[in-house]
């Protein structure tokens, strides 16, 4: 039953604000992605099930979906970043049985930050740590005021709340966040790697080349500021990671943090776009050992991001069916070849649901279905249903699909 006392939790972005009041098409506190998240999902946009574009009996749709997956030799399971941890568990369980390739959408939408972490690790912190301790926060080529509109307010970094704390933005765009910053350093997008190396050089007292507004002196000043802070933070995201060679840029960021960690406490926060981007990767990691691009075809997990990435496999024609769970592979993976059947679960119409052979219109997590998501800093947030919707959520639907394929999704 919907709980009318507790504020809603929002799946509009990685922040997963859990203090939201929903009234019709507007939400409070106001937030554009949050309002869109709720308004597109409070009233179901899709029928409970559809086969080849026509409304269908849910049982027939389950049979059709199971048939597609059972016949596939190389299915792809994609998405999971806008659904619950529970659904992600069921989806990975199903993928293990099918011998599928699993790609969480976050690794695609947010770029290759995870690959950098796999190589060298990272220093991270939850939101409360950055809010209560970080004296200087550097936002690197991100515009959270637009993409994660309440993040700066929650970190008390908006102009009204930040007091003597400093917000530094590295970006060549005149973004809303840059306009609100204590310092805006204009560095061209092509100069990220050089700029991070210049900061590393400055940290070691070595000469560095100017990169845009980041002159040798500015680099020294920024490094001194971070060192002078007991605790400081670097916020990054797809601006760095979704560029060509993104993982090397993120790697340079983490190496800078490591260089400076001898004298100050420096943390990073990846601005994940989807509410459960972190949760989907967490589930895949604990169940298989790897956060993305996990190929289960051999009977055991193998992951080599690049060769086993979904986009590579699709381009090579090595995927023969797609199970999309609250994702949009047709857009996000650069297309799904005609003839590759798609089974899609989603609460909203997308290019993928339009192209899918079988579609299940499911209840979104935190709206028509309860479930847990791991917000951008990894903190698990339990979302309750705020609307009564006579349709299953993704987890329930995936379990029914697994039962059709003979057995439970979970197994041990």
């Amino acid at each position: 039953m919907p709980d009318r006392g507790l504020p809603a939790g929002c799946g509009g972005c990685g922040c997963v604000c859990d203090d939201v009041r929903v009234a019709g098409a507007s939400i409070s506190p106001a937030c554009a992605p949050g309002a869109a998240w709720f308004s597109q999902r409070l009233e179901p946009a899709l029928p409970p099930s559809r086969i080849d574009g026509r409304e269908a009996d849910p049982e027939a749709a389950l049979d059709a979906a199971a048939g597609i997956l059972a016949q596939a030799d190389a299915p792809l399971v994609y998405g999971l970043a806008r659904t619950s941890v529970e659904a992600a568990r069921s989806a990975v369980g199903l993928a293990d049985r099918l011998g599928a390739l699993v790609e969480p959408a976050g690794a695609v939408r947010d770029g290759a930050g995870g690959r950098a972490v796999a190589l060298r690790g990272a220093s991270t912190a939850t939101l409360g740590e950055i809010r209560d301790r970080a004296a200087t926060v550097v936002v690197w080529r991100e515009d959270p005021l637009t993409t994660h509109p309440r993040l700066l307010e929650r970190l008390r970094l908006d102009e009204a709340q930040r007091g003597a704390r400093r917000l530094v933005v590295v970006d060549d765009r005149e973004t809303a966040t840059a306009r609100s910053a204590s310092l805006h350093l204009r560095v061209p997008a092509t100069g990220d790697l050089d700029a991070l190396l210049a900061l590393r050089a400055a940290a070691r007292g070595l000469p560095a080349r100017a990169v845009g507004a980041l002159t040798a002196q500015a680099a020294r000043r920024l490094v001194d500021e971070l060192r002078g802070a007991q605790n400081a933070a670097l916020l990054h995201g797809s601006g760095l990671a979704a560029q060509p060679g993104g993982h090397r840029r993120v790697l340079a960021l983490h190496e800078l943090v490591r260089d400076l960690s001898d004298t100050c406490h420096l943390v990073t926060l990846a601005l994940r776009r989807d509410a459960n981007a972190a949760g989907a990767e967490d589930v895949l990691t604990w169940q298989t050992g790897f956060p993305s691009a996990v190929d289960l075809a051999s009977g055991a997990p193998r992951s080599f991001p690049g060769p086993t990435s979904a986009a590579t496999r699709l381009r090579a024609g090595e995927v023969d069916a797609v199970l999309s769970v609250a994702g949009d592979p047709v857009v996000e993976l650069g297309g799904v070849p005609a003839g590759v059947p798609i089974v899609a679960l989603d609460a909203v119409e997308t290019a993928t649901t339009r192209a899918a052979r079988v579609v299940f219109g499911t209840a979104a997590v935190g709206i028509g279905a309860a479930g847990t998501v791991h917000r951008l800093d990894g903190v698990p947030v339990a979302l309750h249903a705020v609307a009564a919707q006579a349709r299953p959520g993704d987890d329930e639907l995936l379990r029914a699909l697994a039962a059709r394929l003979g057995g439970e999704a979970q197994g041990c």
């Binding site: 406490h265 169940q287 055991a300 947030v381």
Partner: protein, 550 residues
């Protein structure tokens, strides 16, 4: 129903030391007898023990899962195939969740306690434990750096209070935890403030004015007075640092009169000067432990080979980070704790590593009471749980041990008493104590670690092999909750276990105190903090407080 017939039974909790007897099982419990038509396992010539119990390991939650991310290399070389009964996964020092359960069971272990979960992440840990089959899991929550706890200690004038007791009980109830863990109290708070260090147990940690000694004292007293099944579980200050034995002894004195468990004692048993070469103070710690019968401990043995350090003691992680060029993770959890992760290898040629290895063996071999000092490697910090069979051989087989001693750094081994004629060889009964009966008793798990009537039917049957490593690495049968899960060394079933959690009452009014403190400090709403989802919490067994036990 099942009869394990004619094996030599080692059940030290019930005074059985190698007697030939039948062990009978019905409805998941040990019973006195079963009818003749019950399934019969012929255990003649074999050794029968209760299922193993791990008192201190790191197997689930965000810290363990973060470690998996930087260990891609070792896990690519150690994949585990799915089959009829089991999910696929990967191994290495930090296996994926399903493989963790499979491999513990393959060693004959059926109960495992994760020793360090940030309460804010309890949902994550519980979800992982749901995906860790074959073991009954439990976990301890980190409260020793919690700033709301510090506020309560300050309000109580630096000690414990009814409010603090209720808060501790509330936290256990709200997370499904079995007990309370303190890691280097105050250390995480300092770490988050620009790597500041604590130099004394009496130095105020931050502006709240609370000292590490007050935290130890207040939480140990609260846990003691609540009668928790497992008392406060303490990771002492200065882990790995030369000279830390002084603080360990000081901590033991501070805990005097209360029940407490000291985690991975080996890592806290060093003499010498900070920054200098460590020496062994195992003898002093064994003596001190002997003098305080209300204390228990696990060893935290270091094993040569690959390991992964995962600790809430983030400061020591930074030291390890700078000692090499491995990956490093630091993860700060608001209000509650820090965390550091560095992959690590212990080498027999290294003075420090050989000394650590030697100190662990000293602790085992000098310990007069196996019930109070039990086996652990602080998995995966001192080495993987997969190295337990080799450790058992080191304890049971003097010739093998002496051979291994000769391979380790000589200067280090000379700093120990291991060359002084330590003839001791653990008996099978003593192994049964340090690997099941002892940990179960320390954890307050009355139904685990023994084979008396009414106990959980978790049973391991071994071939009695002269090579004790081989023997303990390859059980012939493992029975979990009455079901045969290992048959002839093969995993034949992978049932889910049951969560082991404390069942301790608290005054619900405590939420009126906690709510405003939570709303001030956490970025998650108070009403979303407590875990209540049945899929995470059930099935479970609630272990009542000492006073409430039948």
């Amino acid at each position: 129903m099942l009869r394990i017939a004619g094996g030599r039974v080692h059940d030290p909790a019930n005074g059985v030391d190698g007697a030939v007897a039948d062990v009978c099982i019905a409805d998941g419990r040990i019973v006195a007898d079963v009818p003749g038509h019950a399934r019969r396992i012929d255990a003649r010539g074999m050794v029968v023990m209760a299922g193993g119990v791990d008192v201190h390991a790191h197997i689930a939650g965000p810290a363990v899962n973060a470690a998996r991310r930087v260990l891609g290399g070792e896990r690519r070389a150690d994949v585990a195939m799915r089959d009829r009964v089991r999910r696929s996964g990967t191994g290495g020092t930090v296996p994926s969740s399903f493989v963790t359960g499979h491999r513990y069971a393959l060693l004959g272990y059926t109960t495992v306690i994760d020793a360090a979960i940030a309460p804010l992440a309890a949902r994550h840990a519980l979800a992982e434990l749901r995906d860790t089959p074959l073991i009954d899991p439990g976990f301890l929550i980190l409260l020793g750096d919690n700033q709301v706890v510090y506020e309560l200690i300050r309000e109580a004038g630096g000690g414990t209070s009814q409010t603090l007791r209720d808060a501790v009980a509330w936290w256990l109830e709200s997370t499904g935890a079995l007990g309370v863990k303190l890691v280097n109290p105050g250390g995480a708070e300092r770490w988050k403030r620009g790597n500041g260090r604590l130099t004394s147990l009496d130095e105020p940690v931050n502006e709240l004015g609370v000292t590490p000694r007050q935290v130890l004292d207040a939480l140990a007293t609260a846990a003691h007075e609540l009668g928790l099944p497992h008392p406060v579980h303490v990771h002492c200050h200065g882990l790995g640092v030369a000279g830390n034995a002084r603080t360990t002894l000081d901590t033991m004195r501070t805990l005097d009169g209360r029940r407490a468990h000291l985690a991975h004692l080996q890592f806290h048993a060093y003499g010498g000067r900070p920054g200098g070469r460590p020496r062994s103070r195992a003898v002093d710690l064994v003596d001190a432990l002997k003098a305080q019968p209300e204390l228990t401990a696990d060893v935290g043995q270091v094993m040569f080979g690959p390991a992964t350090t995962i600790t809430a003691d983030a400061q020591i992680s930074a030291v390890l980070r700078d000692s090499g060029d491995a990956a490093w993770i630091s993860a700060d959890t608001e209000v509650e704790t820090g965390c550091g992760i560095v992959p690590y290898t212990y080498r027999p040629s290294s003075y420090t590593h050989a000394l650590q290895w030697g100190i662990g063996l000293e602790l085992f071999l000098l310990s007069p009471d196996p019930w109070r000092l039990v086996l652990s490697t602080d998995h995966p910090n001192g080495g993987s749980f997969l190295s337990y069979p080799r450790l058992i051989r080191l304890l049971m087989d003097r010739e093998y041990r002496n051979d291994q001693l000769r391979r380790a750094n000589e200067a280090a081994i000379r700093r120990t008493v291991l060359l002084d004629d330590l003839h001791r060889e653990y008996s099978l009964n003593e192994i049964a104590i340090i690997t099941r009966a002892g940990p179960a008793r320390q954890l307050g798990l009355a139904d685990k670690g023994h084979l008396g009537v009414g106990a959980d039917a978790d049973v391991t049957v071994y071939h009695d092999r002269a090579d004790r490593e081989e023997m303990f690495a390859t059980p012939r049968y493992v029975i979990k909750g009455g079901e045969v899960v290992i048959d002839d060394g093969d995993l034949v079933a992978a049932p889910r276990g049951r969560l082991l959690r404390a069942g301790v009452a608290h005054d619900p009014e405590i939420e009126r105190t906690l709510r405003p403190a939570f709303e001030r400090r956490y970025t998650l709403g108070f009403d979303r903090y407590a875990v209540s989802e049945p899929w995470l919490l059930e099935p479970a067994r609630r272990i009542p407080a000492a006073g409430e036990r039948p």
